[in-house]
Assembly symmetry: C2
Homo-oligomer: 218 residues x 2
């Protein structure tokens, strides 16, 4: 795989985050995200087009080609693995990891990243709950969200537990809430934000404090 500048990588990564199924990304949109000027975006789009990483038609916006998407996913993989490392191993706070990972993500050494992945025991989600693409760029679809943000009657699966303190894990154990369990919010109580949830066909009530530590994917 060829090598890309940090700048090119930031463009690719940001286009990936901005593009949706049907809409192209616009020049102004990307300029704002990258804290740069529209003219710079046009310059770079010409370059990325010539490298066949974006489909770009003047005045018509742009989106990643399959090749561009592959590269974007590898950058996102690096970013999220480093975030996980910083939080899990170096004990950074979850809100500090992003800024540091912005730099680490541009070191493109496949062996480094795959060994890091292995060392971290192949984590599936970063500290923000975003899924980590695997070596082949495969990524879990659907963002991981907090259980307290899950809409009523939507089927979801427990995929991550934040702040893994002794007491929290013990509590989850008592309630039989485990990673991979199927879960559904049946009712939200406004008074104390507690939730009535259905867990493997059993109904139970959990506090907002507990819900805030449980992340799900649908």
């Amino acid at each position: 795989m060829l090598n890309f500048s940090a700048s090119e990588e930031n463009y690719l990564k940001t286009i990936y985050h901005l593009q949706t199924k049907d809409d192209n990304v616009t020049t102004n949109e990307l300029a704002e995200k990258l804290h740069t000027r529209p003219a710079s975006i046009t310059d770079m789009m010409k370059k990325l087009k010539s490298r066949k990483l974006v489909n770009y038609q003047p005045y018509r916006g742009f989106r990643l080609t399959p090749e561009g998407k592959k590269i974007a996913l590898s950058i996102i993989r690096r970013h999220r693995l480093w975030e996980y490392f910083l939080a899990e191993k170096l004990k950074f706070n979850w809100d500090e990891v992003h800024a540091v990972a912005e730099h680490l993500e541009h070191i493109s050494n496949k062996k480094l990243i795959d060994k890091l992945d292995e060392y971290l025991a192949f984590p599936k989600f970063d500290p923000h709950g975003d899924p980590i693409p695997d070596t082949n760029g495969r990524i879990e679809t659907g963002k991981q969200i907090n259980l307290s943000d899950l809409s009523i009657n939507k089927l979801a699966k427990v995929c991550f537990i934040a702040n893994q303190s002794e007491s929290l894990l013990e509590h989850l154990n008592e309630k039989k809430i485990t990673i991979g369990a199927t879960i559904m919010v049946k009712k939200k109580y406004n008074y104390d934000d507690s939730l009535e949830i259905k867990l493997d066909s059993k109904l139970l009530t959990i506090s907002d404090q507990l819900a805030k530590n449980i992340f799900v994917k649908y």
Copy 2:
């Protein structure tokens, strides 16, 4: 502390490695090390001089100012800590770590490096036996060398054991060879490269195989 480009950092680091007590570094010398042209060196020296990081007189070579040395040491600290991490945690071979650390060293986030240092339990030497500067840029003088390379009758101190296998550690224990022990080579036998050493006033003979795993500093 200000921020420097990867390029400036490479110049500073390389000057540090090239400069000796009495001799200035020359333009051609540095150009060769950096795989660049002499004209580029002159350009950069003007810039580093204006930032008060090197003392430079046209045609007379250059050396680091105290400030330049401080920065060089912080880059070397980052480099060696990452090397240690790669070898110790990610299980890279010792001959692979340098190339990867060349990239990692340019991420200048003090908190990152200090937390990494802590995570690694404040290692004193990198996988090549080179000393790692501490947060304040203090560095052990005298390079760590292999016991089998120590000249006869030179007083040295055991500072590192390579390949810490069960059987090796056990063997060292029997011979009472520990980190910090004072050691001196009294005789080298050409036949099998075994060594007669003086260890805390006791004389003993050790095999070349064992000596190769012991590193000392003088």
